[in-house]
Structure formats: C-alpha cells, structure tokens
C-alpha cells in the first residue's frame, strides 16, 4: 500500500515556525524538527530565503537621526516633576525600607500591649477597692440588714481563715478597726501578687 503524503499540508504546518527558526527563537526541540524538515523541503527553504531577504531589506533602511536636539531643561524638570533623590534611593533599597516598616510596626504593637496590660491591672485593683469599700459601708450599717449580715458573715469567715493560716490582724478588737485591717492586708497581698507596690501616700508603682 502506498501512502500519499501531501507535501503542501506539511509545509503549511512548518511555515509559521520558519520565521521563528530564522530568528533563533524556537525551542531546542522545535529547532531540530524544523531543521530536519527543511533539509528535504525545497519549498520551505525558498520561504526561508524570502524571510532572509525581507529582514535584510528592513535592516538596510537608513537609521534616522533626530533633526533637532531636545530642548527640554531636564534640571528644572527633575526638580519639579520627580520625587527627591533621597526618596528614590530609599525606595530603591526596598529591603531597608521593609525592615524599617517592620521595626515601626513592632514598636507600635509592643506599646499597645503594654498600655492594655496596665489598664487591665488598674481595673482589677479598682474592683478590689470597690468591694472593700462596700464591705466597710455594710459594716457601718448603710446597707440593708440582710445584706449587711451577709457581708459580715463573709468577712468573719475570711478573718477566721486568715487566723488559721497564721495571719495577724492588728486592731481586731474593735469592729471597724478589724475590718479596715482585713481590707488593708488583703489589698496589700493583692497588690504584691500583681507586682504593685504602694508608698505611704497611696501612690502605685508598677514592677515590670
């Protein structure tokens, strides 16, 4: 059996590749395929010759020179239309700029964290003071009878627990003195636990 191969259709397949072949822009594999084909194909060799002629004719066109020099004052244009040279330089050194930005972000985050931490401590101290004040008020009978007795029971329990644990309470003979001593002691313990020291004026100092 004889298989008839249509040479024209083969060439049509290769034709669009011949320009890239001539320009050296084909992949290694395609280059080998086209090389093998043109070895036996006069039609494609003719086309390559035409490509060569067209390219030579275009390359042969005269290189035109600007008839007039540009009259732009570049110095003044640089000053008015571009960003300062130090900005360009900084922008060019992208890595330094990124490092700087990262450092600023870290500083801001660290600052925010510290501020949040001192706020939360402030509020916890304020809560314990408020509770103690309520107890003092209750002790003085400003609360209702039921509430006052309830607070009193809680305070007595805490005093008893403290005594069992070896905590001494000065002025515990008098009712109000006992409660104040308890409050002062508890407040001091809570502050120490949080790393807060108070001076005699009642000012807080935070240990970091």
């Amino acid at each position: 059996m004889i298989i008839m191969v249509d040479q024209t259709s083969i060439c049509e397949k290769f034709m669009p590749m011949l320009d890239a072949f001539y320009d050296g822009e084909l992949s290694k594999e395609d280059n080998l395929t086209v090389s093998a084909h043109i070895k036996d194909c006069q039609n494609c060799r003719n086309h390559l010759h035409e490509v060569e002629r067209i390219v030579a004719s275009l390359k042969g066109l005269p290189r035109l020179q600007m008839p007039h020099e540009l009259t732009v004052n570049w110095q003044s244009l640089i000053q008015t239309s571009t960003k300062p040279w130090w900005y360009l330089k900084l922008k060019q050194e992208k890595s330094s700029l990124l490092a700087l930005a990262a450092a600023v972000i870290l500083l801001v985050l660290a600052g925010s964290f510290l501020r949040l931490r001192s706020f939360s401590q402030f509020f916890s101290i304020a809560d314990s003071q408020k509770q103690a004040a309520q107890e003092v008020v209750a002790r003085k009978g400003d609360l209702g009878v039921g509430e006052s007795n309830q607070v009193r029971r809680v305070v007595d329990q805490q005093v008893a627990q403290g005594k069992r644990a070896g905590v001494s309470y000065p002025n515990q003979q008098t009712g109000d003195g006992e409660l104040l001593a308890l409050y002062q002691n508890e407040s001091k313990l809570a502050s120490e636990e949080l790393g807060i020291a108070t001076n005699e004026d009642g000012l807080y100092a935070l240990k970091l």
Partner: protein, 210 residues
C-alpha cells in the same frame, strides 16, 4: 569603560544629577525617533514622541525595577505614545496617507542624476550614481511597503527587524504574549514579501552601506 543603562540610572537615583539623565537621552533619542517614525510615519510627531517619552521616563523612573531591560521599558512608553497618536488620527478622520520616507527622496534622486551626468563611466569601487538612485528607490519601496502593513504587524517588524528586540522583549513592549508576536511577525513578513514581489522579481536587494 562605558556605563550600562542600569549604572546610569543608579547614579541618577543616588545623586539626582541631570547629567546622568541627559546621557540616557543622548543614548536613546535617535533610536526612539527612528522607531517612532517607522511606526507612525511623521517626522514632527516622531519628535514629539521622543520628547514625551523622556518626560514620562523621568516621571516614572522610580517604577523601573530591572524586571525588563531599560530599553524595552522605555520603548514600551514610546510604543504607547505612538499608539495614542495612531488612535487619535483614526478618530480625527480615518487613515492618512503617510510617506514613511523621511528624507526628501526626490531631492536625493535629483542629486544622484546630477552626479550621473557629471561622472565619467570609470570603474570604481565606490557605488556610482546609478547604483545610488537604485538604492534610494529600493529604500523608498521598502519603507512604503512597511507603511502599508497593518499597524500591529508593522510595529512588531519595526521592533524586531529594525530595532533588534527579542520576541520576549517585544511581548513586554506591546503587552501581548510571545505567540501573538511570532504570528504577527510571520504574517507581517508574508505581507512584505507580497508587496515587494514585483520589485524583487526585477531586482535583488543587495547589502549596501552607501
């Protein structure tokens, strides 16, 4: 040793001195002018393209990040300006007949004829007036054929066959993929072959440097 484009740009960025930018202008102004003229076919507009290109290069130099060669990056700007001019022409009143031959060719031909009448027919290594006439006519024919190509094919032929950019660089300049560039180049050359066929049948395009 001559500084590379990147060296010049680095120096300009570091110092802001106009002389560095001026050296880029000196290096590329004629090349851009030549390409712009071959694309749009008008000397005055080609000069405007050069000026506008360098102003835009100056304004956008901070955006150049060596992702392409500086020449390709700058030609992209010039190409976009040329496209704007071509679009503007189409809006104003359809296609204009552009000569695509910048030098007053008729004057050159006249000059060559004058030489032909004056010079005796002595064998000479230099091309004679007759050859010069033939050469000038040949260039006029080629420039005219190039001007008749569809805009997209003409631009690719100018950038590749005249300016020597690679397919990849042209793809970056015109904003298309390499396959499209390859196709435009192929069909552009086929069209050139068709337009120049009558001329090629009678003459050979000789390498001529006169």
């Amino acid at each position: 040793m001559e500084l590379t484009d990147v060296d010049i740009i680095d120096n300009f960025r570091a110092t802001g001195q106009a002389r560095y930018f001026q050296s880029l202008v000196s290096r590329y102004q004629h090349r851009i002018y030549n390409a712009a003229f071959r694309m749009i076919g008008d000397t005055q507009e080609a000069e405007e393209v050069v000026q506008e290109t360098f102003i835009k290069v100056l304004q956008n130099l901070e955006k150049f990040r060596n992702q392409a060669t500086f020449a390709a990056w700058m030609f992209r700007i010039a190409h976009n300006i040329c496209i704007d001019i071509l679009r503007s022409r189409q809006r104003k009143g359809g296609l204009q007949m552009m000569s695509f031959d910048p030098q007053s060719t008729q004057e050159q031909i006249d000059q060559a004829y004058l030489q032909l009448s004056q010079v005796s027919q002595v064998a000479d290594l230099e091309p004679g007036p007759a050859q010069k006439i033939e050469h000038i006519e040949q260039q006029e024919m080629i420039a005219s054929s190039l001007g008749q190509l569809p805009e997209s094919q003409r631009i690719v032929l100018v950038l590749h066959d005249i300016e020597g950019f690679s397919y990849q660089e042209i793809a970056e300049i015109v904003g298309d993929n390499v396959g499209t560039i390859r196709s435009r180049l192929h069909y552009g050359r086929l069209k050139m072959k068709e337009l120049l066929a009558p001329y090629f049948q009678n003459n050979t395009v000789a390498a001529y440097s006169g």
